[in-house]
């Protein structure tokens, strides 16, 4: 069906990003906001705004009934969930189907299939995609047997989990019983599902993910990979494509594994298959699939020239994959820095408030996705992402030079930001060499202790 009006059930930079594509496609936008976001830039940019609830996201951005009611009442044909919030909750596509609305994303079944980490593991194995040695455990005896066969170190993970909750590192097998109980209790409290499973812990892995698009009828293509190894406590900070210093054989295997996995689900829409890669041993394991648009999608767009949001809309409207997509050759390199309102001097605690002045960079190969301008409010209720600075160029060294200049030109005052942290990463020899693993940020802090104790002033002006 034709999509003429989309209700956007999200906020921040991704709301602004979706509005931009809708305008280019001549699609009207209705933005569902919380009371805290009435005066946000995306609220000014949308054709219409409806306030669906109070600032607290459980009563607004996570309220599927209010979102769907608002979509029907404003005459929207479709709902775009963005990322986070309701984007991977099966209830939203279910309510959309009951109400004759198009959900811009995968089916409810696909969301459930990849949201349950154990089901996803089984599906990956069935699609001959390597998974980290491990498996489900339902008793302590079972867990101890499996743990002995995996060997330490290993991870206890929550079946319904994510974001580090319910996740425990077991360095010595004798600690397993206590950590198992702790992980199950945390998982039960956070996700209402106390099931846990065990996995071998890959200490020095790289986080590499593959962007896929599926038409929902079995056709799936990939649009290259992204390396997201620069992380602090499981939060991605810098992402790039292509993944540096990866053999072409390994790259090819990752891409084909992602396609096989998504194809086995007849996946519909844009999705990302995440892997942990041991580049030294040329091995990799499936981690999980994210059934949504990702924060870091612009690096893929920068090298392929494809508008992923437009492709999501086309697939949801039943038009399938655009012709020529599969033949797209990724050329060049793109790197993204996530600019967050967080204070390095306060252990990177979120730093909400009102932005006084902001200067976002411009220049050749520079793209900025943001909802923040001078005077914008950064409410304390949501994530602290202020915007993303994406540089692209013919190769990694040109791209890095452009990104360095862009970060140097970025000025944010009123809230503390992590701009100076990014400048330090881009000047670090290990990062410049490329191919860092997820242990990079702790190593950087060990080399440069002043980075985690930077004064608020340097953050403010940097």
């Amino acid at each position: 069906m034709a999509i003429r009006r989309i209700l956007i059930a999200n906020r921040g930079e991704i709301a602004a990003r979706i509005i931009r594509t809708c305008r280019a496609l001549d699609i009207e936008t209705v933005l569902a906001v919380s009371a805290a976001d009435r005066d946000s830039n995306p609220a000014r940019q949308a054709d219409r705004v409806v306030c669906i609830g109070p600032a607290k996201s459980s009563a607004s951005y996570l309220n599927a009934q209010a979102v769907v009611h608002a979509a029907i009442a404003t005459g929207a044909d479709a709902i775009h969930p963005g990322y986070g919030f309701l984007s991977e909750r099966a209830i939203l596509p279910q309510l959309c189907a009951e109400s004759g609305l198009v959900f811009i994303g995968p089916t409810a079944d696909q969301i459930l299939a990849v949201g349950d980490k154990l089901r996803a593991r089984v599906a990956a194995e069935a699609a001959t995609v390597p998974v980290v040695p491990g498996g489900a455990v339902s008793s302590l005896i079972e867990a101890e047997q499996l743990a002995r066969s995996i060997g330490a170190p290993l991870l206890v993970k929550a079946v319904g989990g994510g974001g580090g909750r319910g996740l425990k590192l077991v360095e010595r097998l004798e600690d397993l019983p206590a950590l198992l109980d702790l992980a199950a209790a945390e998982a039960g409290a956070a996700f209402g599902d106390a099931r846990v499973y065990l996995e071998h812990y890959v200490a020095h892995g790289r986080h590499v993910e593959v962007q896929v698009l599926g038409d929902g009828a079995g056709e799936v293509i990939h649009l290259g990979e992204r390396d997201c190894s620069v992380q602090r406590r499981y939060q991605k900070l810098i992402e790039e494509t292509p993944a540096p210093r990866l053999s072409s054989a390994l790259r090819e295997q990752l891409q084909q594994s992602a396609v096989r996995f998504a194809r086995s689900l007849s996946y519909r829409g844009a999705g990302t298959v995440e892997f942990i890669v041991d580049a030294q041993r040329e091995s990799f394991y499936f981690l999980e699939m994210n059934a949504r648009i990702q924060v870091e999608h612009p690096v893929t767009e920068a090298v392929t020239g494809i508008d992923l949001v437009a492709e999501q809309i086309a697939i949801a409207a039943g038009r399938g994959l655009s012709p020529g997509l599969a033949a797209t050759q990724g050329g060049g390199c793109a790197i993204e820095c996530r600019i967050n309102a967080e204070d390095p001097a306060q252990d990177f605690r979120a730093s909400p408030g009102r932005v006084q002045e902001v200067n976002w960079p411009t220049g050749e190969g520079i793209r900025v996705d943001t909802h923040i301008s001078a005077g914008s409010n950064v409410p304390p209720y949501y994530d602290s992402l202020l915007g993303k600075i994406i540089a692209s160029g013919p190769d990694r060294s040109v791209t890095l030079a452009r990104l360095r200049a862009a970060i140097a030109a970025t000025r944010i005052s009123g809230v503390v930001s992590n701009v100076a942290f990014h400048a330090a990463v881009l000047d670090d020899a290990e990062f410049i060499a490329g191919g860092v693993d997820t242990g990079f940020v702790p190593r950087l802090f060990a080399r440069r202790p002043e980075l985690c104790a930077m004064s608020a002033a340097s953050g403010t002006h940097g």
């Binding site: 009435r38 609220a43 000014r44 009611h69 005077g375």
Partner: protein, 162 residues
């Protein structure tokens, strides 16, 4: 069997006078789900506080979206300290009467107490009753019947009892 409108109204009245916030009833394939609007009635905002917020906020940009514009218009009234706004506790469809054809819960001039039901807001077929949350006299009813109201939108104004 089926429930008549009068019976539904009676069940709603019973819930109103009970100490429960929510009622689910299933009889012979009929499902009825009633819920009070928040445990403590409608969200209250005094015009005084609202006027203060409006004055401190920066002016809306030109081409402000209709929702925000409507909100701003509702906030722009001169301050009358004896008037209190009753704001919508949720987004949904505003109903002035318990069912089509029956008299509205309240009209302008009606006396209300904190417990008085003044409207229904329907969200995805779930009926939520809205209470006045204040004692006084209704001076204004803003949204048209059976239209979309947003969270925080002013539904009615009440002159508080002296």
């Amino acid at each position: 069997m089926s429930l008549t409108a009068a019976e539904v109204a009676e069940i709603m009245r019973l819930l109103e006078h009970s100490r429960f916030d929510e009622l689910s009833l299933e009889i012979d394939g009929i499902k009825l789900h009633l819920r009070r609007a928040g445990a403590a009635g409608g969200v209250l905002q005094s015009t005084e506080a609202v006027a203060h917020d409006a004055a401190s906020a920066k002016p809306a940009a030109g081409g402000a979206p209709s929702g925000a514009a409507a909100g701003t218009a509702a906030l722009a009234r001169p301050t009358d300290p004896s008037l209190t706004d009753i704001a919508s506790p949720m987004l949904g469809t505003f109903y002035r009467a318990p069912k089509p054809g029956s008299p509205p819960f309240v009209e302008v001039g009606a006396k209300v107490t904190e417990e008085s039901v003044i409207a229904i807001i329907e969200v995805m077929k779930l009926m939520n009753s809205v209470r006045a949350g204040i004692s006084g006299t209704i001076t204004e009813i803003l949204p048209a019947d059976e239209t979309l109201v947003e969270f925080g939108q002013v539904l009615m104004r009440v002159r508080r009892d002296a």
